[in-house]
């Protein structure tokens, strides 16, 4: 378990001090895939780097499995770091070492024997699907392959925690998905606590179970990924979520449409009920679906529909009331 307790990180700039991370409290349970999302400059990178003390907090404490590591230095700090793996946006592999030597590096640091290394590295390469690249130099690998080496390297010492600093931001969409699948798979197989930062809600949606949303150094919202996606509370979160659950209608349709446009978000078990056909039967109106999307997050459906209802405003109020009782949210859509 990782506890981030009242952590503040201040930087001194020419214009005075500036809080990159402002009094953040987070608890990350063992085995979780915990996402921290925010735009660039939100302080998420600074925050994740406090967990292994690459960045020492100005105030506050970092607890790992009940151990306060904040003041650790020298040997004690290095011993803790041996149990925390980390992967990076730009992979940060040693160019002058082969894939084998790169993966072996954390083990060499931790004082593993040659035999242990010779046994472990091929296992790790198999886990990340790069067995044939053992003696190749990083410059001969693609971005996705480099990140796979990064992941294998991070896992070399069987860490308790895996820190992922924008692991897919330098990769194309297809490679991103493959890397996320791999991370998810590793989390399931090894039960390793995974903390990931990203600026993309899509990444959170794909692999995280819990998410903290950061803006200007502060956590503005935190919860299960599914809840955050279906009912974002904070305006900043709503903006982020809207980006992935974005429904846009062509201007021609917006002009032509008669009656009201209503956006309905529904989730959980309700998503499986025939709410729309019930509404049509109950009120005797026509409901036309103009746009829609159903996402599966954490294996649970989350749907967004854009409905066009041509009826009197009183009736629309009534229908909206009916839908509100049965779905997560209903609002008038303005295009």
């Amino acid at each position: 378990m990782v506890n981030i307790e009242n952590v503040t990180v201040e930087f001194q700039t020419k214009e005075g001090s500036f809080k990159a991370v402002d009094n953040i409290n987070l608890t990350i349970e063992n085995g979780e895939v915990f996402g921290i999302v925010g735009t660039s400059g939100a302080g998420k990178s600074t925050l994740i780097r406090t967990i292994n003390l690459l960045q020492k907090p100005t105030f506050g404490k970092i607890w790992i499995d009940g151990e306060d590591i904040t003041e650790y230095t020298g040997h004690a700090l290095r011993a803790v770091r041996h149990t925390i793996g980390m992967i990076f946006q730009h992979f940060n592999l040693i160019h002058t070492k082969t894939v084998f030597e790169n993966i072996a590096f954390p083990m060499v640091i931790a004082g593993a024997t040659k035999e242990a290394i010779a046994q472990r590295v091929p296992e790790l390469l198999e886990l990340v699907g790069l067995s044939d690249k053992m003696h190749v130099y990083p410059s001969k690998l693609s971005g996705g392959q480099k990140q796979r080496v990064g992941i294998a390297r991070a896992l070399a010492n069987n860490p308790r925690i895996l820190l992922c600093d924008e692991p897919t931001s330098a990769l194309d969409l297809e490679t991103t998905n493959a890397i996320l699948d791999l991370l998810k798979d590793i989390n399931k197989k090894l039960g390793i606590t995974t903390i990931l930062i990203t600026h993309e809600m899509d990444v959170i949606k794909k692999i995280c179970t819990k998410v903290a949303v950061m803006d200007k150094g502060v956590v503005v919202e935190m919860g299960n990924v599914y809840d955050i996606f279906s009912l974002p509370q904070h305006s900043f979160t709503q903006k982020l979520v809207a980006h992935t659950l974005n429904l846009e209608l062509p201007p021609r349709i917006l002009l032509d449409v008669k009656g009201s446009l209503i956006k309905v978000v529904y989730n959980g078990e309700k998503a499986e009920e025939p709410i729309l056909s019930n509404a049509i039967r109950t009120f005797g109106v026509n409901i036309n679906v103009l746009h829609g999307k159903i996402e599966y997050i954490d294996e649970k459906p989350l749907g967004v529909l854009l409905l066009n209802i041509d009826a009197s405003s009183a009736q629309i109020e009534e229908i909206m009331g009916y839908l509100k009782e049965r779905t997560a949210s209903v609002e008038v859509f303005h295009g």
Binding site: G85, M86, I94, I109
Partner: protein, 219 residues
């Protein structure tokens, strides 16, 4: 042709002296220039032995040596040379001032190559709990190796040039031969021969350096 055969013993002796001067100071530029450059780098801001005072001090020391024209440095170091080596004459004595110049020169080149090392890789090693020594050995020196070798090539070539100057105060060597015979005695052919020898020497160093640098460069 006759003059060439006549010259041959002198030429071989001079060549051997040049090799001695260049070799000795080249050796010291590696042994002391790399630690000094490394020291400059790791005492810089944001690195693990950050120490502003020592950083500025060592930087200043290097600049003093580097901004002094070599001929003047050589003369300034004569008393110290006398003290340390017991003479100011001969290739060994000349090697002292040559080494001082080469160490300062190469230390800067080492620092520049280390600055080129990706900070992210250093951070990764730190995150995995590497000790400063492990970072120096497995990340800094390893990643900077091609640059370090290119720097050595440049240093070696500069040394060939400097060693010719060292001849002025009795260091001997090919440069000294060129001045004594070619310049003072107007024997142009001697001058030409020595220049050709120096060119060949520089070429050998350059080609060898480039080859090794390419071999170590995995980027």
């Amino acid at each position: 042709m006759d003059s060439f055969i006549e010259l041959l013993p002198d030429l071989l002796k001079a060549f051997w002296e040049t090799l001695q001067m260049v070799g000795i100071s080249f050796f010291f530029s590696i042994v002391l220039g790399i630690p000094l450059g490394l020291f400059l780098f790791i005492t810089d801001k944001g690195l693990f032995w950050e120490n502003r005072f020592l950083n500025v001090l060592s930087g200043l020391l290097i600049n003093v040596v580097r901004s002094t024209p070599y001929v003047i440095l050589l003369v300034l170091l004569l008393p110290l040379t006398q003290m340390l080596i017991g003479t100011t004459i001969g290739p060994l004595a000349a090697s002292f001032s040559l080494s001082v110049a080469a160490i300062a020169f190469y230390a800067r080149l080492v620092q520049v190559s280390l600055c080129e090392v990706d900070k992210g890789v250093i951070e990764a090693a730190t995150a995995y709990g590497a000790t400063p020594f492990q970072i120096i050995k497995d990340v800094l020196l390893s990643e900077a190796l091609p640059g370090l070798i290119r720097g050595l090539t440049v240093t070696g070539i500069s040394l060939v040039g400097y060693s010719a100057m060292a001849g002025i105060v009795g260091g001997g060597g090919v440069g000294d031969l060129a001045i004594r015979f070619g310049y003072y005695r107007y024997e142009t052919n001697v001058m030409v021969i020595t220049v050709v020898i120096l060119i060949v020497l520089v070429q050998i160093v350059q080609v060898a350096g480039d080859r090794i640098a390419i071999k170590t460069d995995k980027k």
